[in-house]
Symmetry: C2
Subunit: 417 residues, 2 copies
């Protein structure tokens, strides 16, 4: 089954790669319109997923992620319209020159080809990814979570109708609707047809893809993010950044998980931190040094374990660790972090630059919240994923991350000496 999908996706990708921006945008606008026109059938399908989820007694948080409403659907449609307004990177001449040999060489941006995306829950991801891939002239094979199988099916129908309406191949966007996990493994071996795999989900999914895929995989999305409060920092300036990084939306990958505190300020700073964390109902998980100092302060405090320092809370929980220097802070981040987003809060120019140079994460901040690591916030318009690996794309991946380039050499009947 998947080989046929791969073949037709490859063929569709070839057609899409030759397609004008205006035609791609017409397809996107048509998807948005159809999403609104078909609200009733989409919400009916979504209701089947919701019922099934309730039967399986999933948590309210997951139910909320699954749920579509009329308003949410309008929001999704408008996001698609926004993608249509973004600049199309395909065709851009990245650079070029005339070489000594006389060869006129340029690098031109082209689509990647066929992209495979494996994701969990969230029905909006289906539309999101499909629209970003379409905009960049890529075909896509989607494999959503079993929790959204009804919603996905009707959404894929909508997309394919829109494609046919503008005379683009419907198989530019295909979906594996069978929830048998063996199809994930099959997709990961489809290297003859698929150019890139993007897993969007937890650590286990990323590990599976890294281990099983014969196709290049973009791993990411796991954010064990740190802020380090240096010895020279105004506490009243630091606290709002820490609150924002931890509480603005705790379930996201760019949320602060561990606060590193310079030893020389810990004693004065910790009571103030404890107060604002208590006000924001954040539970502190403290290392042994800070645990002692936090005793009797307003916040709930628990001792932190080594494992807890290595994983995402994704909730209103914050690890607190005292370090004796900037170097120790960097060492902690290199050892425990996931190379996603880490920052320093300081008034020292020297320390800021030292931190920026030493920390090898996708995004490094000086006096800013880690919550900025996001395609929209970074001015990319939208994002496909946040990469924490180093090849191809790092950090938030916008439309450009869905392209590659070809070298084009024009000669005047040119031979190599």
């Amino acid at each position: 089954m998947l080989i046929e999908m791969g073949e037709s996706a490859r063929q569709a990708a070839f057609q899409l790669s030759q397609c004008s921006t205006s035609k791609k945008n017409a397809a996107l606008n048509c998807i948005a319109d159809l999403l609104e026109q078909k609200t009733e059938s989409i919400l009916a399908a979504n209701d089947l997923d919701i019922q099934a989820a309730k039967d399986n007694a999933v948590s309210d948080a997951i139910l909320d992620r699954l749920l579509l409403t009329k308003e949410r659907l309008i929001g999704i449609a408008n996001d698609v319209r926004k993608v249509a307004t973004l600049n199309d990177p395909v065709g851009e001449i990245i650079d070029g020159s005339t070489l000594d040999s006389g060869l006129k060489l340029q690098r031109r941006r082209v689509p990647l080809g066929v992209i495979g995306v494996i994701y969990e829950a969230r029905p909006n991801v289906t539309i999101d990814i499909a629209s970003l891939c379409l905009k960049t002239g890529n075909a896509v094979i989607l494999r959503g979570g079993k929790e959204t199988v009804y919603t996905n099916k009707v959404m894929i129908d909508v997309i394919q109708q829109a494609l046919e309406h503008v005379k683009l191949p419907a198989c530019a966007v295909q979906s594996i609707n069978n929830s048998d996990r063996k199809y994930i493994n099959e997709l990961l071996k489809l290297d003859k047809y698929v150019d890139m795999i993007i897993p969007r989900g937890g650590a286990a999914l990323h590990k599976l893809c890294r281990e099983q895929s014969t196709i290049p995989v973009i791993t990411g999305g796991i954010g064990v993010c740190h802020l380090f409060i240096d010895e020279c920092m105004d506490f009243d300036k630091a606290l709002p950044i820490i609150i924002n990084a931890k509480t603005q939306r705790p379930s996201t990958c760019n949320t602060l998980e561990t606060l590193l505190i310079h030893a020389s300020i810990a004693k004065q700073f910790l009571p103030k931190l404890s107060q604002v964390m208590a006000d924001n109902r954040v539970v502190l998980h403290a290392d042994s040094a800070s645990l002692a100092m936090l005793k009797g302060t307003p916040a709930s405090v628990l001792p932190v374990t080594d494992d807890e320092l290595r994983q995402e809370w994704l909730s209103k929980d914050l690890n607190v660790v005292i370090v004796d220097s900037l170097t120790s802070a960097v060492k902690h981040i290199r050892e425990y972090g996931s190379a996603h987003s880490d920052g320093i809060l300081t008034r020292s120019l020297v320390n800021a630059e030292k931190f920026v140079n030493l920390v090898d994460s996708a995004a490094v901040y000086v006096n800013a919240s880690t919550r900025f690591t996001d395609g929209g916030q970074f001015g990319l318009g939208a994002e496909v994923a946040v990469s924490t690996q180093k090849l191809h794309a790092r950090g938030p991946m916008g439309l450009e991350s869905l392209t590659t380039y070809k070298w084009i050499g024009y000669g005047d009947d040119l031979i190599r000496d």
Copy 2:
């Protein structure tokens, strides 16, 4: 064993990432000097490899690839000195802006970290790769072929001495000196320490790496390259390009393997082609249509098989296939090619652009020899490999391909709304 190598390489990479360009260049120049000073011991070690190869009755061609001479060693040393003169991409600000939120965002070029390279024969590759990795602040773990085990050992010694001489960590360049293939498999799973794997060898090695590696792999180097001679082309302009692409250095991956000929000119063109190919002692492998037309012409002609159209000759053999249109030529290239280097010979501006758009190869040429696909020829100074995959780097990979970027965000105590 490899875990220790990985750990120390990671540590060395951290140091190298903070190292100035002048210090890295000092290390490179020191390597070059030592290579010349130690000529005697290097040649003695190489002689052991040569003797072993002779005992194993390897071909003269492979013997020649293994062989070092004083002159070749001087050449290698000068190549290292040339890398020292190249621009260091590390630290470059790729782009940056101040966003609406006030965040001052930039992308800064940084080393990848630790690179694993698996290669066959050719002792110069050891020095080549090590110097390019050093220049870009990356640590490297090398795994050379068993045929060069003595030469590699002494070359790694030279590199490590040079590193120590300039007070850089010796384990920035390490080598797996055990020829047991299990260490390749172990290296491919070292994702905790190694950021990128570059295989330099045949199709089987690339396949092994794609299938076994949990680390991103750059595959490439396999070149089933095509030229298509369009119906409107001057034969006397086309022939020198075809001769150059096929014979200038037949053993390279950018050598022409299949010539596609527009049906409408085949009858007039084939006798002329046959004459120059005979003059250059090139054997033609013809499809059934051209076979009939080539009967009785000067060149040696054999019928071509489907398999032969899918693999590299790397010798003075050329496939000849007649196609009925540009579209059929593109279809043939997409079906049989390796997406390395393909070109069109034409006088038609429309056909040239059509070909450039439709052919999805790393390098696409108009009226130029495929032999140009090379880091040196492309003005990159040197190359680590030629990539035929689409992620990270495509085509010849220069120093920039050994880097990634980090996003750096400077805020004025900035939080996300």
